[in-house]
Amino acid sequence: MADTTATAGGRESFLGYFKRTWRQNIIYIGFIVVFLFFAATLYDKGFLAPNNLLNIARQTAMIAVMAVAMTLVLSSGEIDLSVGAVAGLASVTTAMAITWGGLPAGIAIGLLTGVAVGLINGLLSTRLMIPTFLTTLAMMGIAKGTAMWISDTAAIPVLDPLYPAIFGGGNLGPIPTLLIWILVVGVIGHVVLRRTKFGRQVLAVGGNVVAARYSGINTSRVKLWVIVISAVTASLAGMLYAGRLQTGRFQLGEGDELSVIAAVVLGGTSLFGGKGTVIGSIIGALMIGVINNGLILMGLEYSQQLIARGGIIILAVALSQAGTRPA
């Protein structure tokens, strides 16, 4: 929305303008502040080493990829708590399918897992009108249980060497494939939300579902699609996990839903729908990655890391806010 609303200026109240825009820009300022802080304090500990920066990208990739789809979900006024568990399930189904049927089977089954989960989530929510919070929370348990059950809670090794090269493990020249995945998914997500009719409908449904329906939008279809997209993207993230660790395992992605939603909210997307920014979400994910990385490099204990991470997030948000607010 940045491009369509930033120039509103003029007529609207300053307070309104400020309230509308600070959450849109905050994350960039926050990100830069945090990055510079670590660059300054940790320059001798390799924070700026190219490999460390690439590591951050690698470690953040799955969260970032899921955050792109979650941006759509939150923009449409819904939520998806099942992404972490679905990623775990997809890592298992993909790994099992590769063992049985090779690479194509693995990829197909992995993505189909997402489609199936998404359809269940979506149909329950749009047909039976069960809030997505409940359907996806229930799905979180179902997906995890299913993954445990079909894998017998064991790790399923991925032995095909090509798979990890494409999904998560390899490099393309000097660039990790995971970084490419972030870019590809991010660009698609950004264009979909900003430039397509579907993206407009998503934002309208999240902004005012009644007005959207009165405008001739099939609101349940839009929601269904958004939920399916989220599940498929979660599956992709699971496949990336499987590639990076050369393993499918039900625990992969566990708890990611909170990190993903945090990245998206940090990025400036509203939990209440109607506005969202994909770029912000990716920066949000990277910011969390940078903080995690920097705190470890600092040599803090785990407990101190937890405290510092919370503090930094609040500080970054507060600082950026002060930055956008005039004298």
Binding site: M1, T4, T5, A6, T7, A8, G9, G10, R11, E12, S13, F14, G16, Y17, R20, R195, T196, K197, F198, R200, Q201, L203, A204, G207, N208, V210, A211, A212, R213, Y214, S215, G216, I217, N218, G274, K275
Partner: protein, 518 residues
Amino acid sequence: MIELAAKPIAVEMAAISKRFGGVHALREVSFSARSGEIHALLGENGAGKSTILKTLRGVQAPDSGTITIGGEVFDRLTPHVARQKGIGMIFQEMSLVPTLSVAQNVFLANELLTSAGLIDDRAMERRSAEIFGSMGVSINPAAIVADLSTGQQQLTEIAKALSQNAAVLVLDEPTSALTAGEVDILFGLLRRLRAEGKAIVYVSHRMDEIFRIADHATVLRDGRLIDSRPIADYTLATLIADIMGKATRDLSEFTTASTAQDEVILRVEHLSSKLRHGGDVSFSLRRGEVLGIAGLLGAGRSRLARMLFGLEPIAGGTITLRGRTTTIGSPKQATELGLALVPEDRRRQGLVLAHSIQDNIELPILKRLGSSPFVDLFKSRATTDDLIKRLAIKTVSREAAANSLSGGNQQKIVIGKWLATDPDILIMDEPTAGIDIGSKGEVLRLVRELAAEGKSIIFISSELAELMAVSDSIAVMSGGRLVETVDKADLLSSPGDAAELRAEQKLQLIVQRGGNHG
């Protein structure tokens, strides 16, 4: 003058200025209201009326200027202080909590308590029922506000303001969704309050109301104070000239000869809603015809509009569109069939308030903006700019959030977004609510132009003068049934101004009678 001087000033606002970003909403505006007087605040859309009144109610802080109440001078008020000082207000954008009940809203932040100090919902419902009773309207005090029609919400707002027994009562377009009957009741109440010595500030774009009720008028234009004088000093023409900055035509001047053709484009037979029993609507709409729909509050006019637009399930009856019997299951389908609906509640049904004008206008025409999955931004901008110009929407840019516009300008966006779909049948539910006298003329002219182009229009309005002006024939609804369709020619038995008035009275009579039967 002597009489005026005798009435004490209840509240005085001096040299109030307020900017929103680059917009000067108010420039050194002074305004005072006297006890025992009804003071009309007038001005075109975006003139600054709501802004100055919100300042008085303490929900917006002025950039400069002072407010004097009861000898005390304030730089700014808070809602709490304003309320303590006896200022009550009915906001233009209704400020009810949709999830609470009517009674809970009426007494919000002013709850009745039991002897134990707990909230007494029963007592509040009883008191609310009494207030509604004294207003002569029937609204269930236990109903949830989100489920009310716009008119009922407006009545709830009025009840809320009345329950506070304010010394200064501010009403910002309280009648935009009300029919003549409710307006009469409200005026009765206002006269009584005036007699009790309350100061009343009244905003309306309905000129006839001003002359009926107001003692004094203040006119704003572009955030400036233009004039303030007793109503007796004004004639309709001079008042409109003050408001618009130029002379404007009267509503009746939009009356043109009927452009209706013979082809019946829409025929509705015995239509009834699943959600309310006892409905029965039959009519036919010809190409190029403007069919007005009149009725009392709750007569089922909006319901009819929703049924035609696929928003409310149909229990029985048929809809024949261009000679083919159709079922309309969703607004999407309705849009594809060439229908459009300007809904009555702009904030709830018409707009995504946080989104820009352009985004709002784009919404129903996404299909037309190119065949690719991408939005054709160029075309979208062009369409938006065109509509902003055509409807004289007062905004700095098409990128401004709908929220930041004045009420009347928001309404224009809603009209604009449906005009952009270029429909064959345009259903308009109270389309001129909140629109100023000048623009209202423009909208009516537009409707006639569309009719002349061969479009058909169903025009629902609570303002009979406007219905008379724009319609070819007028259907009267009551209790969900369409009870009578009158040809305008029959109402206008004799030419001239006097006849016009008589015609309106005749229509009013039919509307009331329909109500009595139903």
